[in-house]
Symmetry: C2
Subunit: 208 residues, 2 copies
């Protein structure tokens, strides 16, 4: 039975790095943006398009019309619409998530993977959420992206809002709500290395 660790994370919490460390230490496969690239290839969506829609929810009819994912035919044909690209990509990506989870021990960052794998049997699924006080995230992001505090704060709030919307849109659950996860860690207090270590030790105990 494969062990799958999903990592939800606030922007700037270091959740991505923690996931990577956990995968390295356990010798697990690591999936993040890679998942979308595979999914896009499977559904013939271009890399350029993916950049704009990755981890974003279908926002509105207007947006979809502008982005060309709704097609309206008048006059000679019936009015119809095509599934928005974001939704197509989400479905393709969910298929990829299910496939990798059934084939190998892995760590998956974001992309509603906890929800997508919820009903899948025959895997050991551990859902982790990484959070951190805003101040500590601003500090991290200013250093990582050479932004000033105001810019970092804006980027954090915007990204978290997008993740929240994406997660609730596709899962109908609350993003970052404790009860959706098995382990939640304040990486700002616990530390990046130490958070990874905590998860690794638990998984090692599990597979003893």
């Amino acid at each position: 039975m494969k062990t799958v660790i999903t990592i939800g994370r606030q922007y700037g919490s270091g959740g991505h790095d923690i996931g990577k460390l956990v995968a390295q230490k356990l010798g697990f496969a690591f999936y993040d943006k890679k998942l979308v690239e595979i999914a896009a290839k499977n559904s013939n969506i271009s890399d350029e398009t993916v950049k704009h829609i990755d981890e974003k929810a279908t926002s509105s009819l207007l947006y979809s019309l502008v982005s060309g994912s709704y097609s309206i035919r008048g006059m000679n044909g019936p009015l119809y619409y095509e599934m928005p690209l974001n939704d197509k990509l989400f479905i393709a990506q969910s298929d990829v998530i299910k496939e990798v989870a059934s084939k190998e021990d892995c760590v998956i960052v974001g992309r509603c993977s906890d929800y997508v794998l919820d009903e899948i049997e025959d895997i050991k699924l551990i859902n982790v959420f990484i959070y951190s006080p805003l101040e500590s995230r601003i500090n991290r992001i200013t250093k990582l992206h050479e932004l000033n505090e105001k810019q970092a704060k804006d980027k954090i709030l915007k990204s978290d809002k997008q993740r929240k919307t994406y997660y609730s849109y596709y899962s109908n659950r609350d993003w970052g709500k404790m009860s959706n996860y098995d382990i939640c860690i304040n990486s700002g207090k616990i530390g990046i290395e130490e958070s990874a270590e905590m998860i690794v030790n638990f998984i090692k105990g599990l597979n003893k």
Copy 2:
């Protein structure tokens, strides 16, 4: 510098047992109801009274009148009121919490200890919250207290409501809200022993 682990917990999650295990494994002191007993002794409140008010918030003027904690003098004296017993006990208990935290490595269960110790310097404070799906808690409580499922569910919901009210009344924070804690563990999924182990390993790493 002393290490202090506070444990907030949903009723039936096994948080109390996890705290006890952590204290045993680390050789730390363990405080739960004991704190109130010390506080009550310090404030000359009887054991019988403590039973009724432990981890309950001052609920209303009416309750306080009935319980005798408000005294109203008419006629020959001015109208005045005395601090409700629950509040007196909370303050006395907070003093005890601060005292033990400064003197010894310890695990403290409940009693807003995370909030009480928030501003205290010179201690390493780790705030843990233990939760578990309702179903798994019902299962635990039916076994522990020989209750049927309906009784266990009622007891759980009532106790959680009391804890939530107590916590918000005294701390002005949301009970069980991820951002108030450093590590949150779903004991129903992770296991009682394993949850304790996770905390113990982290603390051992901290003190290396």
